[in-house]
Symmetry: C2
Subunit: 310 residues, 2 copies
């Protein structure tokens, strides 16, 4: 069983009548004139980060950022959050204080408040769980793609996984390491997109896998053209230098937290007039899955993206 199948199983076992429950970037619960958005992302040492190349400050920043990105993917505004932390002996005292100091700095920067949580010791691994609460008048779901929609992406993908790959080889290029360690949640862009788009998701597990989630939830298919996906010259150079496969990182690299969306061509003409940046990389068709054209041919990527069940 893969992760998508397991989420489907949970969706059917746990119906939620008070709003939208399992299956999107955040849950959506009616509140007053708008909606309350709630998301929960966990970070586990040895799976999501490694203390050998993450400082306590970077762990704190990353934990907040990945949760904020889920709110951004709904076009929402983050408000407050709850932190659960299990700290091993090696994270006690000084590191724990550094973690909370940075959590405070980042909370101020991103304008969210810590509202509660739970602290525990942990046998050997650092474990972090954040539940982020936000709001939106018009939350954008991943099931709204329509045939004929254009597919857009807010910025490059693959930089985070490239940074991680290099770190694993002991190569620390600050720009790419930083893209991996402390992603930048696209709160401002997400908020602007939400006025125009039909569906949206953040790229947490890889461009193809996450675009596939929009298609799966919308019962549509996607066609994208590799040449339209933004890739920097610098990234090309780095990939060549270290013998890394560019398409793997761009198509299957997770945790860039770029925003992927689908939008009608009329709305896209309107959105183009705003200051928000994005790239159109393909379109939505009747069908299923994600097909990729590269050098004028169907392209099958080697790497598929990250799956916790495999």
């Amino acid at each position: 069983m893969d992760e998508n199948s397991f989420v489907k199983f949970l969706k059917s076992e746990f119906p939620f009548e008070d709003g939208i429950g399992i299956g999107d970037d955040t849950s959506i619960i009616k509140k007053g004139d708008g909606f309350q958005l709630i998301t929960k992302d966990i970070l586990i040492e040895g799976v999501h980060f490694d203390q050998s190349y993450f400082t306590p400050e970077e762990v704190a920043a990353r934990a907040l950022a990945v949760n904020l990105s889920d709110i951004a993917a709904m076009g929402g505004k983050p408000e407050y959050f709850f932190l659960g932390i299990g700290f091993p002996e090696n994270f006690k005292d000084e590191k724990l204080f550094r973690f909370f100091k940075e959590l405070k700095n980042r909370s101020n920067k991103w304008n969210v408040k810590l509202a509660g949580g739970d602290i525990s010791s942990s046998p050997d691994k650092l474990f972090i769980s954040i539940t982020m609460v936000g709001s939106s008048i018009n939350p954008i779901r991943r099931d709204g793609a329509r045939t004929g929609d254009l597919i857009g992406i807010s910025r490059v993908t693959g930089e985070s996984s490239l940074g991680l790959e290099l770190l694993k080889r002991g190569i620390d290029i600050p720009y790419y390491s930083g893209r991996h360690k402390v992603p930048d949640p696209e709160l401002a862009s997400g908020n602007i997109f939400s006025g125009f788009v039909n569906s949206m998701i953040d790229v947490s597990d890889g461009l193809v896998i996450d675009l596939g989630r929009i298609m799966d939830n919308s019962n549509k298919g996607a066609r994208i053209k590799y040449e339209n996906i933004p890739v920097t010259e610098d990234m090309r150079t780095i990939c060549e230098k270290y013998g890394l496969i560019e398409t793997d990182h761009v198509l299957a690299g997770g945790e860039d937290f770029s925003l992927l969306f689908t939008i009608s061509s009329d709305k896209e003409k309107e959105m183009k007039k705003s200051a928000v940046k994005y790239h159109i990389i393909g379109d939505v068709i009747d069908g299923e899955g994600v097909s990729i054209e590269y050098h004028g041919r169907e392209f099958e990527p080697e790497r598929k993206g990250f799956d916790h069940f495999e």
Copy 2:
């Protein structure tokens, strides 16, 4: 630094203007005519439970119960929750399904809904984080104790820690093991208490330590009489049989999730007429800390309760 001092540090570093943040059983956020209650409790294998004597079903039930107890301690009604789970290789597949099946059973029993969350693999330990959302018109805080209040407790304490102690010795007496593995959140009693009491908390870390938290937050002191604390004859017999110190379990045993409260004597006269069960064990005085009278003398317990920072 101990746990209480660390929580004080966090309270001062992370002020929360939209309601009550860090420091009570749940956070309290104004919503419509009432309040939204949000709490987060984490469970870590090797700290809060051990797979050698917890089944997947018991872990699921316990994770829900401890969070529900926090809502009960505010006198609130639980509504929906978010689950974060990091599962090691040995919990994959069959055990994970058993966990979710029981989570569904218990959700139905306790009338709460799973509204979202996050699933991840984990290197070797099972990690669980639940964020529970509830509501209340009149949430009861731990800072409301007044001089002259009576101190009440909903039911016995020490049974959970007795059950754990026996399990550690390889002795499984189902009643006590069950009190440890799947605590019973006092939602109904908590709701009735909330119409009468001035302050309330659930006994998660031990009667003395948790009563101390009410006193500390209310700037008062407590006097309790050991003879007034309910202890069953059966528990006395078990303690004698296995050479265990009864007062340690009753005063410092954690995780019974009984409710501790303070109430004016007038209100207590009214509450007595309702069907709710409780025991008056002492009173609130000007001063600080918790003093215990036993056999007509000041009594100093050996064990102090659980502290994650020690």
